[in-house]
């Protein structure tokens, strides 16, 4: 009986000793402890002004991109309990499309994701900053579960202090970030335009965002397009066609608020994923690095003319603007008129 009760005590003491040795302050570990639940585990990694929020997800569960799609929300990190960190900004790796029942769609990450977090360090102070962050996140499969977690990290001030694991993780996460179009050599030309058409005088104006991706030296392996949330429109699922001039995406737009006039122009922020670089990344080729899955994502913004003042019933714009819907309606009406005419004549 005695032996049985002593052994666990010894084990406990050993665990406490080990725990003390590994606890924050004893050594500048650049990887924080995991905070776990059934669906995910999450931690902070980092060194210097480069942090990362790392998720490992159980099969079938996902967390979100900055535009989560039809449901969900992106993780929210709050560092207000750590005054040594300022202006923390969560950065988003290239997203994936996750289809949900009922025609709904989410944009996010499955299996594993590391969101880089850009921060500014307050000057002075200890070489190791004890970081505490409040994390609010939603993890979803068909189900969604909101969690609030407190994450901790003993952050070394020097970026060189990152250990092998965290340095590798951060480098991989950095390379999975979409590259700004303007900073990318060999990037395609990306042209955005909004086609507007009114099916009839006084009728509703149908708007379609068109994105043409042409040229460049990147191989368009399995390209998909994503957009950030827009203040004026909801964006339908993009339809892609590959033609001689490049890849063309058509995205029907729906006005969010009919009671307010639209501005003459508006900005769309887009991300194209699934490019491949023809050559492996060069020695200093930050622009030509590839994400964790070997593909490259490009991001950019464009101000687009909304062409708000199209005359009603402008047939040219009907044919040019919404060929699919416009022509279909015209064809249907035509067939109907023809049939009416045809079957009326014998009498």
């Amino acid at each position: 009986m005695m032996e049985k009760s002593v052994l666990p005590k010894l084990a406990l003491t050993a665990a406490i000793l080990l725990g003390t040795l590994a606890s924050p302050g004893a050594s500048p570990a650049a990887v924080g402890p995991w905070v776990k639940n059934e669906q995910a585990r999450v931690r902070l990694v980092g060194a210097g002004n480069e942090l990362g929020l790392e998720f490992e997800l159980a099969a079938g569960w996902h967390v979100y991109w900055k535009n989560p799609g039809d449901a969900g929300y992106a993780p929210r990190l709050d560092f207000s309990a750590t005054p040594a960190l300022r202006n923390a900004t969560l950065l988003f790796p290239a997203p994936h499309r996750i289809d949900l029942p009922g025609g709904l769609v989410s944009y996010g990450y499955e299996t594993h994701v590391l969101y880089p977090v850009a921060v500014e360090l307050a000057a002075g102070g200890d070489p190791v900053i004890p970081v505490t962050a409040r994390l609010d996140y939603l993890v979803c499969s068909d189900q969604c579960i909101p969690y609030t977690a407190t994450l901790e990290l003993s952050l070394p001030r020097s970026p060189r202090a990152a250990d092998g694991e965290s340095a590798r993780l951060l480098a991989a996460a950095r390379s999975a970030l979409p590259v700004e179009l303007a900073k990318l050599e060999g990037a395609p030309v990306v042209t955005l335009s909004v086609r507007s058409a009114r099916a009839s005088a006084g009728g509703r104006t149908e708007r379609t965002l068109e994105v043409l991706v042409a040229g460049g030296s990147l191989h368009a392996a399995a390209v998909e397009i994503f957009f950030e949330s827009h203040p004026l429109f909801t964006l339908d699922r993009p339809v892609m066609t590959a033609g001689r001039e490049g890849l063309r995406f058509r995205v029907p737009l729906h006005v969010l608020n009919e009671t307010r006039p639209l501005p003459a122009a508006t900005t769309f922020a887009w991300t194209l994923t699934g490019f491949e670089t023809p050559v492996p990344a060069g020695a200093d080729g930050a622009a030509a690095t590839a994400g964790t899955d070997g593909t490259l994502a490009i991001t950019g913004t464009a101000e687009v003319d909304l062409g708000a003042s199209l005359p009603a019933g402008d047939t040219t714009s009907v044919f040019r603007g919404v060929p699919r819907i416009g022509l279909f309606v015209v064809a249907c009406v035509g067939v109907a008129l023809f049939l009416l005419h045809r079957f009326r004549r014998p009498s």
């Binding site: 969900g72 009922g102 025609g103 189900q143 969010l256 009671t259 249907c332």
Partner: protein, 196 residues
Amino acid sequence: MKSSASLYRTLLLSLVVLGCSGSAHADLAVGAVAPAFELKDLDGKTVSLADFRGKTVVLEWINPNCPVSRGYAEKKVMVTTAAAHPEAVWLGINSTRASHEDFIAPAAHKAYDEKNGIGYAVLYDSSGTVGHAYGAKTTPHMFVIDKAGKVAYNGAIDSGPGATSTNYVDAALTALAAGKSPDPATTRPMGCSVKY
């Protein structure tokens, strides 16, 4: 001959018309007329939007098995907001399809409502027809319909988790009561996807 040709014509025409009218589901814009509906409440009583003509109506897409929706119920956010605006009619709509694991029988919903102090009517839309007509995406997803029957607000109940949160629906109802337009009139709804 003539009557069969006429029948044929009618048939063909109706096929053409059916083919042309199959339109894609679109999001409901602020300013658009709120789609009419008739749904059954937890007692099996029919409730229609037309019953509340001339009143401000709040629609809340609800699912007791969605932790986000349940979280708002347990924190009494909906109930408190509804109580602060007796001028408005608050309706919960559950569009969970009957074959989904989230689906619960009306009796179980009643128990859930009682436990959480939910005194407003909850309507069942298991076919998802009303949910699709409104473009309801999440639980919760909120719509405020003004006295003229037009959509005045479409989006989230509030600005979501975190230390500070703004209750958008409360702000929209306050604006409408003062004869103003809600601002923001649209936000991104947040929560679980509606289980269509």
